[in-house]
Amino acid sequence: MPDAAGLELIAAEINERHPGAILGTYYEHDQACLIAEPEKIREVLAWLRDTPGQEYTFLASVHGADYLPAVPRFGVHYELLNMARVERIRVRAAVHDPAAEGGPYPLGEEPLPEVPSITDEWPTANHQEREVYDMFGIVFRGHPDLRRILMPEDYVGWPQRRDFPIGGEPVIFTNNEREVPGWTQ
């Protein structure tokens, strides 16, 4: 695990090599995280994998997050692991929501945020990027087969987003039978 100072060094080195790639860092609970520009996520991950002395060769997980009131709204997290030193580092692509301006859009027709896919470099990301797309509606540009993986393929909406309506479907019990007519005769 790089400590807080080591994390700053890594960030500075990446920014030197790829200017503007790292937007910030944070270090909490002994976990190091780089906040990256989504368009340069491929360069950042490749740098962390290929640079001698870093060698984070194992992509442990790709997942999404929705920080709704915050801007940028979405995060795509890449958890990297150096298996020789057992060191982990997290890269978070901070993704803007194009649907924030304009709208309101009908459900399922909003413009979707885009992130370059890393599936050709890290084959393990294939299904995980599909899951992020399925749950958050983040499009991975260049993914070989981007379609829903957990929800039915004709599903409308992105169910893990914070503004996705939960509930709302009436469930019939004897106490509310009158309000939901037509269920029983």
């Binding site: 169910p159 019939i172 007519p181 037509g182 269920w183 005769q185």
Partner: protein, 270 residues
């Protein structure tokens, strides 16, 4: 060579009430009946003593209720409880339903043992459609009956949104005794009311297996098919105006179909 037969039956007067000690005599009478050697008077007496008459559909339903084949089909954690009803401790064999069938074509009871996700719902419906009639569905546990604790985007809020459920067993999960009790109630339902009326409720006349256009139909089946489709058509014509008017008029006489409630066409299977 001549076979000497016992003539015991003549030893007992016909109007003698049947008693355990007369068992041998009655056995011999039954043998003579099968050989066709009983006289008319004796024959009538024997038949009135030893047979009873009933209606054919009653016998059919009695047989159906006591030889139910459940499908080997588990959806979630309730399936563990469902498995244990076959165990010697609970033993559903006492009620004649221990033969779990791994194919929907051989099963006639579908136990929905767990939450039905919306991705699984078409599969369950297809399994149900593949079962031969008569068929029954038991919704086991809170999740398949109402969605249970999963009121979210992934789970169908009650399996009777997409197939007709005959009996709901509450619990989370229900104990095996509860499942057995529900099954007993289902047996009683099969014997007492063989038509649960779901075809009318789900607007599904014409979906009977025998009414589908497979191969050549007999004239009888073709007539029934036409009649069923006529009924379905009339029911469909009822939907927009009359059903809503009735729904507004009296809550007891609502005939609005399920589709009208969710607005997504769920529950209409014509």
């Amino acid at each position: 060579m001549e076979i000497k037969r016992e003539k015991v039956r003549s030893a007992l007067p016909l109007d003698e009430p049947p008693a355990p000690s007369n068992l041998r005599i009655r056995q011999l009478r039954a043998r003579d009946l099968l050989r066709g050697e009983l006289s008319e008077e004796e024959l009538e007496q024997l038949v009135s003593e030893q047979t009873f008459t009933t209606r054919l559909d009653k016998v059919l339903n009695w047989g159906r209720a006591n030889a139910v084949f459940p499908a080997t089909f588990g959806l979630a954690c309730c399936a563990i409880e469902m498995m244990s009803i076959v165990s010697p401790r609970y033993d559903i064999a006492r009620f004649g339903a221990e033969a779990m069938r791994a194919s929907p074509r051989q099963a006639d009871l579908l136990i929905l043992s767990g939450r039905v996700s919306i991705k699984m719902a078409p599969v369950v419906r297809r399994l149900y459609d593949q079962m031969l009639e008569p068929k029954w569905v038991m919704s086991m546990g809170a999740c398949s009956s109402s969605g249970g604790m999963f009121q979210n985007y992934a789970v169908v809020q009650g399996a009777d949104k997409f197939l007709p459920v005959d009996i709901h067993v509450p619990g989370c999960p229900p104990r095996p005794e509860a499942v057995l009790y529900g099954f007993n109630k289902l047996q009683r339902m099969i014997q007492g009311n063989p038509d649960p009326g779901w075809r009318a409720r789900y607007n599904a006349h014409g979906t009977e297996e025998w009414a589908r256009e497979y191969g050549t139909l007999t004239d009888e089946a073709r007539e029934a098919y036409a009649a069923a489709h006529e009924a379905a058509k009339q029911a469909a014509d009822l939907i927009p105006e009359e059903a809503e008017a009735e729904a507004g008029a009296s809550p007891e006489e609502r005939t609005e179909p399920v589709a009208g409630r969710s607005g997504r066409g769920v529950g209409r299977f014509i």
